[in-house]
C-alpha cells in the first residue's frame, strides 16, 4: 500500500506521532504491569491500532460525545483523560478515572463526555444513538463518536442502532475498527457479507473506508465524514482497516492466526511507517523521534508511579455509587 | 414417630382431662406401661401405652381437657433417632424462654402440630391459675363430677337404646350345688382367701362365651368384630352414684381365686378412682349383678360397642321340681340382653343354658 505525502505541518505531524507513541508506550507498560500482577482482569491492548484513535479522536470537538469499547485505553487517552487516571484505573485505584470500579474495560470521564468503556460487544451503539437523540431533541450541534470493532456488526444492537440512527437522522459517527478478528474469529468466518460498508449503506448510512494503519487516512476520512454530519446529514459510518499486533487479551494464545500474517502487518505498523514518512519529508529527525518517545515513556513511567502509589478505595466505600445518595 | 393419643376408655367417653403424667421426655416406655392418669368423668384412669418407645414430647399439660384421639405425647419408636428439635415456632420459642416455660410440656396447635405463640400464652395462663388443685382432687367427688358422669352414662345408654336392637332372655339357674361347693371351699380358708358367690357366674359366663363368640365382642362401623379375648366387664356401682364396668381380662382362663382377687382389686380401685385405661376400654361383654341389691332379675342396657350383657339377680329359695319332687332350692335369675344385629334369641337361649349348666358343676369352674 503506497502512502502519499503527509498533508500536515511539522508540528501537527509530530503531535500525531507523539500521540501514537503515548498510546504505544502506555499499552506496553500495561502489559508489563499486568505481568507484574498490578493489573488484573481482562486487558485488551491496542498496539498496532494506534493510528485510529490518534487520527480520529482529535477530529471531535470538546462538546461531542464519545462511546468506546473495552479496548479503549488509546481512545480515553486521546480524548484527554489523563494517563495517570487511566493507569490508576487499571491498577484498580481510587484515583482511577472510574474510582477503581471499572478497570481496563470501563474507563469513563463524564467531564470529557467519554461514555466508556463498554464491554458488551455492540452495547455502546444504542447508547450512542440515545446520546445523539438527546442532542437532536436539545437542538444542539454535538455529534457522537461511537467506536466498535467489526465483531459488533454481528450483533443485533448494530443493526437496530444503524436503523434507528438513520431513521431519525441522528448525528452518530459509527467508527468501526476492523482489525479482522472478533477475538479469534476472522471476519470471513462470522459474516456472510464481509464488506462492512455495504452493511451500513443498506441502512442508508453513508459509509467510508480508511486505512487504519495510516494516521493520515484515518484523520482525513474521519474529517470527511464529520463534515457531512455537522451539516445535518445524519449518521455516517467509517470502516478503519487495522490490525492488532498483540493477542486479543492477556489470556489469548493466538492459535487462530499465522505468525507470518502478524509479521506482515507489523511491516505496516502505524508508528514506524509514519515516522519514516515524516523523516523522508524532513518533518522529523531521529533525535526528535527519540525525544518524543522518551517523553512518552517518561509520562508512562510517571503514570505507573502515580498508579502504584495511589490508594485503593476504602472497602467501606464499596456501596457508594450504586444509586443516588438521596432518596427519591 | 409415634403419636400417643387419648384412648376412648369406653363408649361414653368423648374427652378426658389429663391429671398427671407418669413419664417424662426421654423415658423409655414398655408396652402396657401406665404413662398417664386421665380423668374420664367417671374415674381417674391409669392410661397405658401399647407400644414400646421413648417419650419425645409431652403435648398435653396436666389440667387440660382434650377430646378422645388427641395426640397426648410423641414417642420415638424403638430404633428411631430423635429429631433434632420439636416443632416450635420461633416466636413461641422466644416467648416460652421469656416466660420460663418448658416447651416439651406444650401441646402444639399450629401447622404440623407446631407450638405457636398462642399455645405458649395459653399454657402460661393455665399455669398461673391454681390448676394443681384441680389435678389433685380425686375423680368422682363433688356434685359436678356426679353430674358429668350422669351425663356420660346417659349419652352412652341413649346411644345404646337408639342404635342397638336389644332382645332379652331370662333363665332360672338352680344354685344349690354352687352354694354347697362355695361353703366347702370357704370353710377351710381365712377370710381374705374366701370367694364370693359373684365370681362363680362371672367364670361361668366367660366359659360359656367360648362357645358363643357372637356374644363376645364389638359392633363397630356396621360390622361385628369378635373379641380378641374374653374380657368380662364387671359393672361396679360407685358409692357416690354412677357406675363403671372395668374388665376382668381373660376371665375364662383364670382360676376362681384369681378372679376373686382381681374383682376385689377392681372394686377397690374403681372406688378410689385409679382404674387403668385397658380395664376401661377392653371389656368385650358386661356382667351386672344386682342380686346384692335384692332384685330378682335385671334386664340391662348393652354397653356399646359391646353386643351382650348378662344380668344376675338375687339367689333366693324357690320351690323347684327336681326328679319329680318339689323342693326349696336356691335359684338365681340369669338374663341376657343381646344385640339382634349380631345374634338372635336361639343362640342367646343356648348361651344361657350353657351358663346354667356350668353353674351346676362348680368344681369345674
Amino acid at each position: 500500500m503506497s502512502l502519499g505525502p503527509v498533508p500536515y505541518d511539522k508540528t501537527s505531524s509530530q503531535a500525531l506521532l507523539a500521540d501514537m507513541l503515548r498510546i504505544r508506550r502506555l499499552e506496553e507498560a500495561a502489559a508489563e504491569w499486568y505481568g507484574a500482577g498490578k493489573i488484573r482482569g481482562y486487558l485488551h491492548l491496542y498496539i498496532g491500532e494506534e493510528a485510529v484513535a490518534a487520527g480520529a479522536m482529535p477530529c471531535f470537538h470538546e462538546g461531542d460525545d464519545v462511546v468506546a469499547t473495552y479496548r479503549e485505553h488509546g481512545h480515553a487517552l486521546m480524548r484527554g483523560v489523563p494517563m495517570n487516571a487511566i493507569m490508576a484505573e487499571m491498577f484498580g485505584k481510587a484515583l482511577g478515572c472510574s474510582r477503581g470500579r471499572g478497570g481496563s474495560m470501563h474507563l469513563f470521564d463524564a467531564g470529557r463526555r467519554f461514555f466508556g468503556g463498554n464491554a458488551i460487544v455492540g452495547g455502546g451503539l444504542p447508547l450512542a444513538v440515545g446520546l445523539a437523540l438527546a442532542a437532536q431533541l436539545q437542538h444542539e450541534a454535538r455529534v457522537v463518536a461511537c467506536f466498535f470493532g467489526e465483531g459488533a456488526v454481528a450483533e443485533g444492537a448494530f443493526h437496530e442502532s444503524m436503523n434507528l440512527a438513520a431513521l431519525w437522522k441522528l448525528p452518530v459517527l459509527f467508527c468501526c475498527e476492523n482489525n479482522l478478528y472478533a477475538m479469534g474469529t476472522a471476519l470471513a468466518r462470522s459474516e456472510s457479507q464481509t464488506d462492512l460498508c455495504v452493511k451500513a449503506e443498506s441502512y442508508q448510512v453513508p459509509a467510508l473506508r480508511a486505512d487504519g494503519m495510516d494516521v493520515v487516512s484515518v484523520r482525513e476520512t474521519t474529517q470527511q465524514a464529520l463534515a457531512r454530519m455537522r451539516a445535518g446529514g445524519g449518521p455516517a459510518f467509517v470502516e478503519y482497516r487495522t490490525y492488532r499486533f498483540r493477542a486479543h487479551s492477556m489470556f489469548d494464545p493466538e492459535l487462530y492466526r499465522d505468525r507470518k500474517e502478524v509479521e506482515a502487518w507489523k511491516e505496516r505498523g502505524p508508528i514506524h511507517t509514519f515516522s519514516a514518512r515524516l523523516k523522508a519529508e524532513g518533518k522529523l529527525t531521529e533525535e526528535e523521534f527519540l525525544a518524543l518517545d522518551a517523553r512518552a515513556m517518561a509520562e508512562v513511567a510517571a503514570a505507573v508511579a502515580f498508579a502504584d502509589a495511589a490508594p485503593f478505595e476504602p472497602v467501606s466505600e464499596l456501596g457508594r455509587d450504586v444509586v443516588a445518595q438521596e432518596e427519591p | 414417630m409415634i403419636d400417643f393419643t387419648l384412648p376412648a376408655l369406653g363408649a361414653d367417653m368423648t374427652e378426658g382431662k389429663l391429671l398427671e403424667w407418669k413419664v417424662k421426655p426421654g423415658d423409655a416406655v414398655r408396652r402396657g406401661q401406665v404413662v398417664a392418669v386421665v380423668d374420664t368423668s367417671k374415674a381417674a384412669v391409669d392410661v397405658e401405652i401399647w407400644q414400646d418407645g421413648t417419650v419425645a414430647q409431652l403435648l398435653v399439660r396436666p389440667g387440660e381437657t382434650v377430646p378422645v384421639g388427641t395426640p397426648m405425647a410423641r414417642l420415638l419408636a424403638p430404633g428411631e433417632l430423635p429429631v433434632a428439635r420439636s416443632r416450635v415456632s420461633p416466636a413461641a420459642r422466644q416467648r416460652a424462654a421469656t416466660l420460663g416455660i418448658a416447651l416439651e410440656s406444650i401441646a402444639g396447635s399450629g401447622p404440623e402440630g407446631a407450638v405457636t405463640l398462642e399455645d405458649v400464652e395459653r399454657t402460661a395462663a393455665a399455669a398461673a391459675t391454681p390448676a394443681a388443685a384441680v389435678a389433685s382432687v380425686p375423680a368422682g367427688t363433688g356434685v359436678g363430677k356426679v353430674a358429668d358422669m350422669r351425663a356420660a352414662i346417659g349419652a352412652a345408654m341413649s346411644r345404646s337404646k337408639r342404635e342397638i336392637p336389644h332382645y332379652y332372655l331370662a333363665e332360672s339357674v338352680p344354685m344349690r350345688r354352687a352354694q354347697e361347693w362355695l361353703e366347702t371351699f370357704n370353710a377351710g380358708r381365712p377370710l381374705p382367701e374366701r370367694l364370693l358367690m359373684a365370681v362363680l357366674p362371672i367364670k361361668a359366663v366367660a366359659l360359656a362365651l367360648r362357645k358363643f363368640p357372637e356374644l363376645n365382642g364389638f359392633y363397630r362401623n356396621g360390622a361385628f368384630e369378635a373379641g380378641k379375648g374374653i374380657h368380662v366387664g364387671v359393672a361396679i356401682a360407685l358409692r357416690q352414684g354412677g357406675l363403671v364396668a372395668p374388665a376382668l381380662h381373660d376371665a375364662a382362663d383364670k382360676p376362681l381365686a384369681v378372679i376373686m382377687q382381681e374383682l376385689s382389686d377392681l372394686v377397690q380401685r374403681a372406688r378410689s378412682a385409679s382404674l387403668r385405661s385397658s380395664e376401661l376400654a377392653d371389656a368385650t361383654v358386661t356382667v351386672t349383678n344386682l342380686g346384692d341389691q335384692g332384685v330378682e332379675s335385671v334386664f340391662g342396657v348393652i354397653y356399646p360397642p359391646q353386643v351382650a350383657l348378662v344380668g344376675l339377680g338375687r339367689v333366693s329359695l324357690r320351690p323347684w321340681a327336681e326328679e319329680g319332687v318339689v323342693r326349696a332350692v336356691p335359684v338365681m335369675q340369669a338374663t341376657l340382653s343381646a344385640d339382634h344385629r349380631v345374634s338372635d334369641g336361639h343362640r342367646g337361649a343356648l348361651f344361657l343354658n350353657e351358663v346354667r349348666e356350668r353353674l351346676q358343676h362348680p368344681e369345674t369352674l
Binding site: 460525545d65 462511546v67 482511577g96 478515572c97 472510574s98 474510582r99 477503581g100 470500579r101 471499572g102 470501563h106 469513563f108 470521564d109 463524564a110 467531564g111 461514555f115 466508556g116 468503556g117 463498554n118 458488551i120 452495547g123 451503539l125 444504542p126 447508547l127 450512542a128 444513538v129 440515545g130 446520546l131 445523539a132 437523540l133 438527546a134 442532542a135 431533541l137 436539545q138 443485533g156 444492537a157 437496530e160 442502532s161 436503523n163 434507528l164 431513521l167 457508594r320 455509587d321 450504586v322 444509586v323 443516588a324 432518596e327 427519591p328 | 415456632s89 420461633p90 416466636a91 413461641a92 420459642r93 422466644q94 396447635s109 399450629g110 401447622p111 407446631a114 405457636t116 405463640l117 398462642e118
Partner: protein, 327 residues
C-alpha cells in the same frame, strides 16, 4: 371523579410531558397506535411525534437509546410492550443503565423511566404473560415500581422521573381497566417511591402482595374476615429497594405472613421477601412463611389452565388457613 388505571397513567404522562421539556415518551406504537394498551392514546396529538415517538420493533435499540438519551441530559420514558419483550433489551437495562453509575465511579447516572406491562390474566400465553419483576428487582442500580392502585398509577411517574437512577415501572395488565375514585387535587396521588403501604389492617396474618396480586390479596382478606381472621395486607409498591422495615413491622405484629407473587417461586421476589422475614423477624414468626405464586409452568393459554396457574384468592385463603393450623 371516576378514573381508570389506564387513564391515571395517561394523565401522569401528560403532566410529565407538559411540565418538563426534557421528558419524552418512546416505544413501539406509543404514537399513532395509541399504545398497545392504549395508555398513551391522544398524547401524540398533544405533544407531537418528537416527544411521543414511535419506534421500530427494536427493544434493545430503543431501550439503549433511552439510556443514551438519559446520559445526554434527557428524561426519557421508554415503553416496552410487555416484560417478556423487555428480555430483548435486558442487556441495555442490566449491563448498561443499572451499572453505569457504579462502573463509572459515580460520574454517570441514568435518569430513565421504563414502563412495561406485566402479568397474566388476558389469555396471552407464554410470551406475553409472565411476571419478571423479580428479575429486575434483583439488580442493584435499578429502582422497580409496581403501582397497584389508581392513585399510584397516577402518582408514581412524577417521582420516578425525578429519580436520578433508572426506574422500571410495571403496569399489570389486569389493572388497566380498574376504575376508582380519584380527586382532582394532586394530594390525592402524590406519593414516594420508596415505601410499601398497608392497604388493610389486621392482626392474624400479613399478606404481602404487589401489582396484580394486591386485589386478590384484598379479596382473600375479605373472605378471611368472614371466618374471623383479620389479615393485614401490605402492598409492596416498590419492589426495589424493598421497604423491609414496613414488612418486618407488620409481621412482628401478626407473627405470620403469606407472600403473593405472580412470579414463579424458584429464585423469585417472593423468595427474597421470605428470606428477609427470616433474617429480620425470625423470632417473631409463629408459623412458616407461606407463598402463593404462579405454578411453575410457562403461562398456558386456555382459561382454566391460566387461572389454575395463577395466584387466586382461594389459594391465598388456603395458605393463610394452613399457617393458622386450620387446614
Amino acid at each position: 371523579m371516576k378514573i381508570s388505571y389506564r387513564e391515571a397513567l395517561r394523565e401522569a404522562l401528560r403532566d410529565a410531558l407538559a411540565s418538563d421539556p426534557r421528558v419524552f415518551l418512546m416505544g413501539e406504537d406509543v404514537g399513532r397506535y395509541g399504545g398497545s394498551y392504549a395508555v398513551s392514546k391522544g398524547l401524540l396529538e398533544a405533544f407531537g411525534p418528537e416527544r411521543v415517538r414511535d419506534t421500530p420493533l427494536s427493544e434493545l435499540g430503543f431501550v439503549g437509546a433511552g439510556v443514551g438519551a438519559a446520559l445526554g441530559g434527557m428524561r426519557p420514558i421508554v415503553e416496552v410492550m410487555t416484560v417478556n419483550f423487555s428480555l430483548l433489551a435486558m442487556d441495555q437495562i442490566v449491563n448498561g443503565a443499572a451499572a453505569l453509575r457504579h462502573m463509572s465511579g459515580g460520574q454517570l447516572h441514568v435518569p430513565l423511566v421504563i414502563r412495561m406491562a406485566t402479568g397474566a390474566g388476558r389469555q396471552l400465553a407464554a410470551q406475553h404473560s409472565h411476571s419478571f419483576e423479580g428479575w429486575y428487582a434483583h439488580v442493584p442500580g435499578l429502582r422497580v415500581l409496581a403501582p397497584a392502585t389508581i392513585a399510584d398509577a397516577r402518582g408514581m411517574l412524577e417521582p420516578a422521573l425525578a429519580c436520578p437512577d433508572p426506574v422500571i415501572l410495571f403496569e399489570h395488565v389486569r389493572l388497566y381497566n380498574l376504575e376508582g375514585e380519584l380527586g382532582d387535587d394532586p394530594s390525592a396521588w402524590r406519593c414516594d417511591i420508596r415505601s410499601a403501604a398497608m392497604r388493610r389492617a389486621g392482626d392474624a396474618v400479613t399478606i404481602i402482595a404487589y401489582g396484580g396480586g394486591l386485589l386478590r390479596a384484598l379479596e382473600a382478606a375479605d373472605q378471611l374476615a368472614g371466618e374471623g381472621i383479620e389479615a393485614e395486607v401490605i402492598d409492596l409498591r416498590v419492589l426495589r429497594p424493598l421497604d423491609t422495615p414496613t414488612l418486618l413491622g407488620s409481621v412482628r405484629k401478626t407473627h405470620r405472613a403469606v407472600v403473593v407473587d405472580e412470579g414463579w417461586k424458584s429464585g423469585s421476589l417472593s423468595a427474597e421477601i421470605v428470606a428477609r422475614l427470616m433474617e429480620g423477624a425470625f423470632y417473631d414468626l409463629d408459623a412458616p412463611v407461606g407463598r402463593v405464586c404462579s405454578e411453575e409452568v410457562p403461562m398456558p393459554y386456555a382459561l382454566p389452565l391460566e387461572e389454575a396457574a395463577l395466584p387466586q384468592p382461594g389459594k391465598i385463603v388456603a395458605a393463610v388457613r394452613t399457617l393458622l393450623g386450620k387446614t
